[in-house]
Symmetry: C2
């Protein structure tokens, strides 16, 4: 079957590849997904993965190549073609100007990969993919100014003023949870059913500890182990405690950035709900966003600001 679209929006992350065909009315005509994330491909395999996903998709203007706008890890150094970072502070309306255009055999498809954003001057940091979501948030929420939290393996906290990103940081919260759960002495306390009824109670206790003592993380982490040895805490409670402790520490350490406006949360619904719960514990309000809607809005906005 042939699909006729105006252009194709693509989010090419480490684990997955997602594409949306955008019709001439601006609406989503189709969504296609593939497990061929950047992490699973060699440089040479990117063109084939994209061509395969977009088989049967044709551009509305006959004769012209299919316009494909890509954000995410495909533009990393170890990805398809490196799209050099824009340096923060910067106006995200400049994303398309920084895009790179990898060669595509056959010329049927014309891909452009958006850059990530970096930060230097003693606060070295990088993002790739989140900048497009931030532009999407700015497009969907005109006039928004404040801190944005993007929970995940590497959570981002970004200070946004309209379409400008002023400053950002990365917290390794999700990854620390995973490596400790899998490889540290804490694994002995997290061996069993982690989703039992004790998880919520452990989460609340860990979050309270993290919020109150964000500087004590190296020490409070060990309490996961000690609690199971001394107080007979079960794996579900310990998993909740570890998760709450890390999220509480992350939010506690960013407390000075949280003002009176609600904090937009961009990430998986389950994780955003956890962050909203912990934000509520300090009287702040988290506002979970639909991450797909946000990234699509970002790709659309990036394209509309073409020079």
């Amino acid at each position: 079957m042939t699909e006729i679209v105006d252009w194709v929006a693509v989010d090419w992350g480490t684990s997955n590849l997602r594409a949306w065909g955008i019709g001439q009315d601006g609406a989503v005509a189709f969504e296609k997904t593939s497990p061929k994330g950047m992490g699973k491909l060699t440089r040479e395999e990117f063109p084939g993965a994209l061509a395969e996903l977009l088989e049967g998709v044709e551009p509305a203007s006959a004769g012209a190549p299919l316009d494909v706008l890509i954000c995410g890890m495909a533009g990393a150094r170890q990805g398809w073609l490196e799209a050099p970072y824009l340096e923060a502070p910067t106006d995200l309306r400049g994303l398309l100007d920084g895009a790179v255009r990898p060669a595509m055999p056959g010329g049927r498809i014309a891909p452009a990969i958006l850059p990530g954003v970096c930060q230097k001057a003693g606060a070295d940091n990088v993002m790739r993919g989140e900048e497009t979501q931030l532009l999407g948030l700015a497009a969907l929420t005109p006039g928004f100014s404040g801190i944005v939290c993007m929970p995940g393996t590497h959570s981002k906290w970004a200070q946004l003023s309209g379409t400008r990103i002023e400053h950002f940081s990365t917290a390794m919260t999700g990854e620390i949870f995973e490596v400790l759960r899998t490889h540290s002495v804490l694994r002995h306390s997290l061996n069993g059913d982690l989703d039992g009824p004790g998880r919520a109670e452990g989460f609340a206790a860990g979050a309270a500890m993290g919020l109150e003592h964000p500087a004590q993380l190296l020490g409070t982490l060990f309490q996961v182990r000690a609690s199971s040895l001394l107080s007979g805490r079960q794996p579900d409670w310990c998993a909740g405690y570890l998760s709450g402790l890390l999220i509480g520490t992350e939010i506690g350490s960013n407390r000075h950035l949280i003002g009176n406006t609600a904090v937009p949360l961009i990430g998986s619904p389950a994780l955003c709900a956890h962050y909203a719960q912990v934000l509520a514990m300090i009287g702040a309000r988290g506002e979970p966003k639909d991450a797909t809607e946000i990234v699509l809005a970002g790709l659309k906005a990036a394209r509309s600001f073409a020079v």
Copy 2:
């Protein structure tokens, strides 16, 4: 060859087993070591490992069994025989009273395993082995009162008043370094010669960051990765930075406990030197101790306080 001794002091840790024969004059007559640490043995293998190590060792009092005093992980739940924890605050002169005496086939050897120390009431914590070192420090430094730092995989910080342990905490510093180096995204920045000339510079930079921002650890950790991506930092610099950042964060988070007296450091000489360097950065003084001398003094002291 037969060795005649008054008793045998044993430090049975997770990785190694060490024994010292103590003569009737109180001097060390021999030292024997074995790689048969607790972590490598099933419960049934402990008696054989000890008998093998002490083959040819005879007690000075003929006919009596050989008196062997053991500290460390042999007394853990997953060790030889669990020696229940004393609960802090407690006087460490009570260690021998809390010892357990596992059965030993043949009756030639009479082992006693000292307990560890735990802490409850919302500050759950455990130590096993370090309590004997703390008693040794107290014995070698009469009248000492203050904070003691024991750097390692799980660093201990203990408030000591003479032979009393008032309070303690555990920082997972060494283990976090290892799991991040081996299993996290940071491994990409730590892949190469980690002992090059950049290590010392990276260590100092990381330590300064950790001391200044102990609450920002989840964020500052990611700077290891960003520094290699953006500033071309080499693996040796990154390894130094990660190590310095973790030790700086640990010391920074315990800053309120550090007074004007020197902080005794009990651990490996290389690690203690690093901790002393970071302590000096905040105007404090670390005093590395000989860990073998300390544990021997602790076992002797524990034995001398037998009821």
